[in-house]
Symmetry: C2
Subunit: 503 residues, 2 copies
């Protein structure tokens, strides 16, 4: 549970008010929007799809692995059909909870149960901020963004490069990203699981950073990759290779179909969920055939397109319902579940905020275990925004605070204090208040609660502009977490060696 | 349930895309954050407070009514203490659901159960928009705001004057407000329940508008007033007079203590809830002593102050928890429950949006029956914003759409369509999509889903600026709902007569 104390509040070393690092738990019951019968119907529909239609799996190796486990493979079509029993038995082998190591053991993160983790955005081509506008992301920009991810206590995991450092060559930039993750963060970071080599590099560099063998890493995993299917019903070779690498090494595959209803999946949400679920189950089956018990996350990323324009829409009512329905499906399989904080807005404004809040509240009330892209996402994921990172971090802090239960006992019911204050009295000066006021309420990082006149005198600064001030202040205050010089050297040498072999 | 069809979408007559008018229901289970034991502990604490401490009730008449029902009255202190049995018996007499009439019978609204109603903001001294800035509200401004409330289908009830028309004399402006409500809206409107006369005027003018007797109005109520206690534990004379008038006429008292934890109630949320609950129960007891079965709403408005500055804070994590806990208390008494959409922000920006979303999601998931101030509230309720009205209406529409259940059946599971499309196919052109695409997904009023380049070419207009365009367009498109000339004349004559007697 998140706990705030006066001393801890500035634990980042910054002058910015923050909650301390903490694992967040949801003590409230999950909000279930589908009945058990409806979940069963979707489950059965997915099994039927896997049995009768199957997936096209492009990787020869993956098809071979599945064939050896009894799946029906049509090599001409690269089509794999799954016996329902194989799927059910395999998925049952995946753990319902596990822990991922971070460079700083205090930042290890646990998945499953009622725990909630927040990862920062990963993947866009662009970055933007109010000072320099929208642009292709550079390595320097990316390093700054990682410094902010490290500084924001509410973010538990870095999202596998906040955006592409476009000034670096595509073939080897993952190595520079991994080096930056190791240097600028002591939190867990996601890897860049595009193909076998990039995934293996993440595993090797994790071993160097954590100073452990591959066997030790398998016992206590640290690497996680987001594995997307190409919906509908296609699993491509780079992703299959990554899954094979991750599962063999007992590292985490977060299996996430990206299904936009009306385009890559049926226009009906039930059909979208059935297809999404089938794709997740197929890939998880592959992981468990490779290594029974390999950690996986049930990933959900279902939204819809605008049927007028074909534009993808995010943070919509349909998105919220798919998130909550997905958590029910994941719980049906007793697997940790991932969803995301999304918006289609092009600017940090009310739309970006309400679409993100639609996403976040559905994640929280549905008991998502990992909110991916929890902070920074803008423009349907094409841009990582520096200001959105701060706005989202504030919302994540608020939601974490909302998840601190109301204590009901004689002290908190405060009947003697209410009697003492009496009709038309005031509670400010009572002993009951004075003993508790410092930690009683959520303290915002971004929100401005001053009255209009004071706010006006202060320059009428809105929340997006204040977010711009805050990330700049956090960068000024940033302190790089210490990394053993020998480890740094070993990483640099690994990167150099690998770049040579790639060139 | 909200239903959208192509034909209905522009039912307001405007070119602005909107959902049609509809009663909104929540088919999902309520999110309960307190245990039954905790609710019982708060309930018992409230009864103890009412028995041992009581309320100061300033109205001699109200004290007399309660004394005659067996309450213990200390006239010197104006203090009324309540026997727990009196409270429990009285509260049990209040109905768990009821309907309020509107001028247009299609706009009648039902309270209770899993129904959710949205009312527009009521009460501020200021209004603001991006064109003319923040200012004291005029009658002309107020009439325009009422036209917008009428135009926005998602708003079910007008909130009792969106802001004070400061260019009209305070003693009689309620009459002008009632006249504007009758003319510009055919929806139900809240009254201005400050004292006996203003409340009686609302009742009389409702009888004129609906062309019914007071007896008929008692059978089918149409008038509702927000009744605030002066927390802690004070009930003033104007509010008591309004309650007496409303209850005698079998009209609706929405009893809402305004408790800011740390100032007007204990710094602990349990204590705040116990005190709030006691105040609600006291006033509801009064209503049921006056007229058993008189309709009431359990009102919750508990937030916290910033303990550093004393500023009130809204849409906070504490606020969200109090909303949800209050709905559990109201359900304990089987009463309809009201809460609000709040923010402390001074501008329509990300803060105003995330604080509103914290409020709205806690209302929706907690099964609030009436979201008061559901649209338009800014600056902790000191300002009614024209743009916020539109942003909030969009969020209310999204939440209503979220409350449309996912249909799970053979058609929606769409297995044959998924098989037909197959791996790496596309769903756009399928018969399954073509049959459903027009009404499959939520269509926004405000959100812009265009890609960055198109949005940039369109002038980089953010959601607040688009909201400014939308309310102007709605005003241009506004059509006054027809009102019988004889009724209008009778209302004008009533207002003139009453103004004379006030002057």
């Amino acid at each position: 549970m998140v706990r705030r104390t006066k001393r801890q509040r500035s634990s980042s070393g910054s002058g910015i008010t923050q909650q301390p690092w903490s694992q967040v738990c949801n003590p409230y019951p999950p909000l279930e929007i589908l009945s058990a019968d409806q979940i069963e119907a979707i489950h059965q529909a997915s099994l039927t799809l896997l049995e009768k239609v199957g997936l096209r799996i492009c990787s020869d190796e993956a098809r071979g692995i599945l064939a050896s486990a009894g799946a029906e493979v049509d090599e001409a079509e690269q089509r794999v059909r799954f016996d329902p029993a194989l799927v059910i038995e395999s998925v049952a082998k995946a753990p319902s909870s596990f822990t991922l190591r971070a460079r700083n053991p205090l930042h290890d993160i646990s998945f499953g149960g009622n725990r909630i983790l927040f990862s920062s955005i990963g993947g866009p081509a662009y970055c933007s901020d109010l000072l320099r506008g929208r642009r292709s992301g550079s390595y320097q920009d990316m390093c700054d963004y990682m410094r902010l991810v490290q500084s924001l206590n509410i973010i538990h995991q870095e999202g596998g490069s906040p955006f592409e450092p476009m000034d670096l060559p595509a073939e080897s930039r993952h190595l520079d990203i991994y080096l930056a993750q190791a240097r600028f963060l002591d939190k867990n970071s996601q890897c860049y699981p595009l193909g076998r080599e990039r995934t293996r590099d993440a595993i090797e560099m994790a071993c160097i950073t954590l100073q452990c063998s591959r066997e030790e890493l398998a016992e206590r995993p640290a690497v996680m990759g987001i594995i997307n299917t190409n919906s509908p019903l296609l699993f491509d070779t780079p992703m299959a290779e990554a899954v094979i690498e991750l599962a063999q090494a007992n590292q985490v595959s977060c299996v996430t179909p990206f299904t936009l209803a009306g385009a890559m999946s049926p226009v009906t949400l039930a059909g979208t969920l059935a297809q999404m679920n089938a794709e997740v189950l197929a890939v998880i089956t592959l992981t468990q055939v490779i290594r029974p018990g390999a950690p996986v996350i049930y990933g959900s990323f279902s939204s819809n397109v605008d049927m007028k324009s074909g534009s993808p829409a995010f943070g919509t009512p349909e998105y919220a319902k798919c998130v909550q329905a997905s958590t029910q499906l994941a719980r049906h399989y007793q697997l940790p579940v991932r969803s995301s904080n999304t918006t289609a807005s092009n600017v940090v404004d009310p739309q970006s905020t309400y679409e993100s809040m639609m996403s976040l509240w559905s994640c929280i009330t549905g008991h998502v275990n990992l909110v991916n892209h929890a902070a920074g996402w803008l423009e349907g994921g094409l841009t990582a925004s520096f200001e959105k990172l701060i706005v989202d971090a504030e919302m994540l802090q608020m939601l974490s605070s909302y998840l601190q239960e109301i204590e009901v006992n004689e002290d908190t019911l405060a009947l003697s204090t209410i009697a003492e204050v009496g009709p038309s009295g005031h509670f400010f000066g009572t002993a009951h208040t004075l003993e508790r006021y410092e930690t009683a309420f959520y303290q915002p990082m971004l929100s401005d609660w001053r009255n209009y006149e004071t706010w006006q005198e202060g320059g009428e600064v809105n929340a997006a502009q204040r977010a711009c001030d805050i990330w700049q202040q956090l960068l000024r205050d940033y302190q790089q977490p210490p990394l053993d010089a020998a480890i740094d050297e070993a990483l640099v040498s690994y990167v150099a060696r690998r770049k040579e072999s790639i060139a």
